[in-house]
Symmetry: C2
Subunit: 233 residues, 2 copies
């Protein structure tokens, strides 16, 4: 099975976003480190990289998996749940890096809208994974119940994904605003600031592409989220 064209577009956006966030953290922000006695900013840099690769990129691939993978439904399901598990693991580690950076730098935790939305996103993501695992994998609900729950599983999953996207957008804005307002003195129209804004635009295009792709009209037999094009006269 060839990869569908919309999935190819999504993957180009994923690769662009990953390259841009790495360019930002390595070239402009000095690189990544789990421990750093002098430059605590290096610990922070782990956060955007892991959140983007985890919840956003692997999350996107997991969401699209039933439409993009060539195997049977059972195999695709295992890939779907494993991708989401890795996404959650990387996301949790990314959240840990943000707290570690705050704690070692004497910065308050959990006061900003970014942190509230982000924590809500990862909690919902985790709840969604556990309930999906129990319903569709092990121990697994009855076929009737699975069929009834599936549209809610798919829609709740998209809510968690969109919340993660919102957290990412808020995070890009928050970090560059700190860098512009603080001692770093990053210029408002500097190449770094423009690149961070551009990265955020790429991530929002990625998210919009994934949601529109998996809910595309006229595919109601191909995927549980396919829109109906039936028109009430």
């Amino acid at each position: 099975m060839a990869v569908p064209a919309p999935a190819k577009a999504v993957r180009a956006l994923e690769a662009t976003a990953a390259a841009l966030v790495l360019l930002w953290c390595v070239h402009f922000r000095g690189g990544l480190a789990l421990n750093s006695p002098t430059n605590k900013g290096l610990i922070f840099n782990v956060h955007p990289v892991l959140m983007l690769i985890g919840l956003i990129i692997l999350g996107s691939e997991a969401i699209m998996s039933y439409k993009t993978l060539p195997w049977n439904r059972g195999t695709n399901k295992i890939v779907h749940l494993v991708l989401h598990a890795v996404a959650l693991f990387l996301g949790s580690f990314g959240v840990y890096a943000a707290f570690k950076f705050h704690n070692e730098s004497g910065i308050d935790n959990l006061y900003s809208l970014h942190s509230w939305v982000g924590l809500g996103a990862i909690l919902l993501y985790g709840l969604q994974w556990v309930s999906g695992f129990a319903t569709f994998f092990f121990p697994g609900a009855s076929p009737t119940l699975r069929r009834a729950v599936l549209p809610y599983h798919a829609r709740a999953g998209l809510v968690a994904y969109v919340l993660a996207l919102l957290a990412a957008e808020l995070g890009f804005l928050e970090k560059i605003t700190f860098l512009q307002a603080g001692a770093a003195g990053v210029g408002r129209y500097s190449s770094e600031a423009l690149m961070v804004n551009f990265t955020a635009i790429v991530v929002s295009l990625l998210g919009a592409s994934v949601v529109l792709y998996v809910t595309a009209p006229g595919q109601q037999n191909e995927h549980i989220l396919g829109y109906s094009a039936v028109h009430k006269p």
Copy 2:
């Protein structure tokens, strides 16, 4: 026709969001003014109030209109397009207030992610209104073409709406971050900061409720955006 329960919940969120943003701008930020020789912040305050009441609240009502209004399709359509026109007018005036505040305070324009996303949202909103007007109202396309375009009109409209929501969320974060970092010295856990975050959460709940409501499963005969619940075995 009674107002459906989800629409009642949306209206409660709309009223809460409007009350909170007014409380913020009037009680914490000194009120609203179109001209102010000394306190330019009063000109800024016009911006969040008009954007929220315009693009978000009237936009939400316009999007739900085919499901909430008791009249025939032709009348509902006129209310739908008039609500969106008023939303666009208030939104454009709100954007003007932001530029006026910047220009009179010597602040750069259009450098932030909020401004980029917000400008994209209102441009897409305007394009969507003009193309919808021409296709579905005057001069109006053929019935066949209208039927073909309608799902795209509805989905593009939701994209513009979600972009407006994203701009609003970014705006709340940006403004409170400026107030926390700047001379205003607003505390990170102050009642004002918590209230602004809470307002942003109410707005995101409002947006999620509207999108989930108009795309609800099992209503494919009732609305063009109804999800299909057909399951591929």
